[in-house]
């Protein structure tokens, strides 16, 4: 692997837990300057503390990705403080499971606004900045569910498929500026999101179910997804754009 020890300024949304946190730690270890945001202040503080204790830089912002104004102002602050934005990992997400006929508009909007509009809110100011510098790389967290559906998560599946489509469109629009945009489609990863909305017993049962059903026979770890994010943001992936790369243990193969 090409090791890049330059100080690429990297924005990570949803950096307070799970895949976002693992990516922040991994990219910081690789030498990136991490600009981490999350709506969850405690998680964010924990991520920053871990990175800073190893002598690396982690700038933080407690941001609701749905709040366009605060996103724009925080991105400007990052650009002013560090002089550039090299990479964006647009990752913030949540789940609000429900049977479709009982799904409220609030549940629908929460998931669509956080994932899809949240990515739009970050990508636009960051891309304006990257276009000026004619360089940059973006990774967006989509999902296996961009390709296949799953019951009781129509909002989540719609959001993740929208993000894949957004990725392809941005890849084509910004390739002439030397900017690459790719998506990741994680499968079942052992994160707080996987546990959310499940009792410990339900989680254990889901985990056993995944272990027997997945070709690789185990849940993925957040760092295994972070490794893919690291690759896609690196010069090793210089000829890869508009693609969905799926660290999913073989859950979806197409």
């Amino acid at each position: 692997m090409v090791s890049q020890t330059d100080s690429r300024v990297t924005i990570i949304t949803g950096a307070g837990s799970g895949i976002g946190k693992a990516s922040a730690l991994r990219l910081a270890h690789a030498g990136c300057i991490i600009c981490a945001c999350d709506i969850n202040e405690a998680g964010l503080r924990e991520t920053a503390k871990t990175i800073q204790s190893s002598g690396r830089t982690c700038f933080t912002g407690q941001i609701d990705v749905r709040d366009r104004e605060s996103v724009e102002s925080w991105c400007s602050e990052v650009a002013d403080r560090f002089g550039k934005i090299d990479c964006l990992f647009s990752n913030a997400g949540l789940n609000a499971r429900s049977a479709f006929d009982e799904m409220t508009l609030t549940q629908w909007n929460l998931v669509i606004d956080t994932h899809v509009t949240g990515a739009f809110n970050f990508c636009q100011p960051v891309l304006r900045h990257m276009v000026e510098r004619r360089s940059g790389a973006i990774v967006i967290t989509s999902s296996d569910f961009a390709v296949v559906g799953v019951p009781n998560a129509a909002n989540y599946c719609a959001a993740k498929t929208a993000l894949y489509s957004l990725t392809k469109s941005l890849a084509l629009e910004f390739a002439p500026y030397g900017i690459r945009v790719n998506a990741i489609g994680p499968g079942p990863i052992d994160t707080p999101l996987l546990r959310s909305g499940r009792t410990q017993e339900q989680y254990e049962s889901a985990r056993r179910n995944f272990e027997s059903r997945l070709p690789i026979k185990r849940l993925g770890q957040p760092d295994e997804v972070a490794a893919v994010v690291e690759f896609l943001l690196s010069s090793g992936a210089a000829y890869i754009t508009g693609q969905l790369v799926q660290p999913n243990g073989g859950q979806v193969i197409w």
């Binding site: 893919v228 000829y239 890869i240 693609q243 073989g250 193969i253």
Partner: protein
């Protein structure tokens, strides 16, 4: 996180290791401390294989079952292990469909698809007992997009995707990961044999990132799939094409 030198001391087989992409991968693996066995036709092997350092050349018709099995047997008996298989061996002689000769069809399928089957089968027999293996098969963007004068090539490369996906789910529980790479047009002697500079310029204008792929792009993708960095990727196709095809 992955060790810095996880490849050191491992053993790899590369089929078609004398082609443009194969040669790039062979050199990179060698520089990472991997013992590399190259399986290719004798016409493509260097006149003085002894001069090639830690690279071992085996003269093999990759579509010939007996030759492939015998080469893997001899590698296994010397090295006692096989960690990586990279299948690059491929032929492409473009012909319009109505003029496509059955011999060309047959030879293309035999080398590109049956050769991948034979290599994977022989490699799995070596890898399974040690519960470790990484396999990368080269498909092509053409497997999805098709190509004028390339029905036989598209069929063979599409077949590789189906083969790889199935082997991937059969072998995953034994810690053997199988994935594919689908390159777009890459700057190697193979396309240059059929495309003029003007053709290449025209192709380039249709690629969003504005350039033909480089061998190094494919080497990087291959190293990613061989390494621990892709530890949760099973049966996936990495499309390295500058945005020329988005699925």
């Amino acid at each position: 996180m992955a060790k810095d030198n996880e490849h050191q001391g491992r053993v790899a087989v590369i089929t078609g290791g004398r082609g443009g992409i194969g040669t790039g991968i062979e050199r990179r693996l060698q520089s990472e401390g991997v013992t590399v066995h190259v399986l290719d036709l004798s016409d493509d092997l260097p006149a003085d294989p002894g001069a090639a350092g830690a690279i071992h050349f085996h003269s093999v018709d990759i579509g010939n079952e007996a030759q492939v099995d015998s080469a893997f047997d001899s590698i296994q008996s010397v090295s006692k292990r096989l960690d990586y298989l990279v299948c690059c061996a491929a032929v492409f002689r473009p012909q319009p469909f109505l003029e496509l000769e059955p011999e060309n069809w047959q030879q293309t399928l035999q080398t590109n698809l049956t050769g991948s089957f034979l290599s994977c089968r022989a490699a799995l027999r070596c890898m399974r007992p040690r519960k470790f293996g990484r396999i990368v098969l080269f498909s092509s963007m053409i497997a999805r997009t098709g190509s004028v004068k390339g029905a036989h090539y598209a069929a063979s490369k599409g077949g590789i995707l189906g083969l790889a996906r199935t082997v991937a789910i059969e072998a995953a529980a034994d810690n053997i990961r199988v994935n594919t790479i689908s390159p777009g047009i890459t700057d190697t002697p193979q396309p240059r044999a059929f495309l003029s500079d003007a053709d290449l310029t025209q192709r380039r204008s249709r690629i969003p990132l504005g350039r033909i792929g480089a061998v190094e792009d494919m080497v990087e993708a291959c190293m990613f799939l061989l390494s621990e960095q892709s530890s949760y990727l099973i049966g996936q196709d990495l499309r390295v094409n500058g945005g020329a095809s988005l699925w």
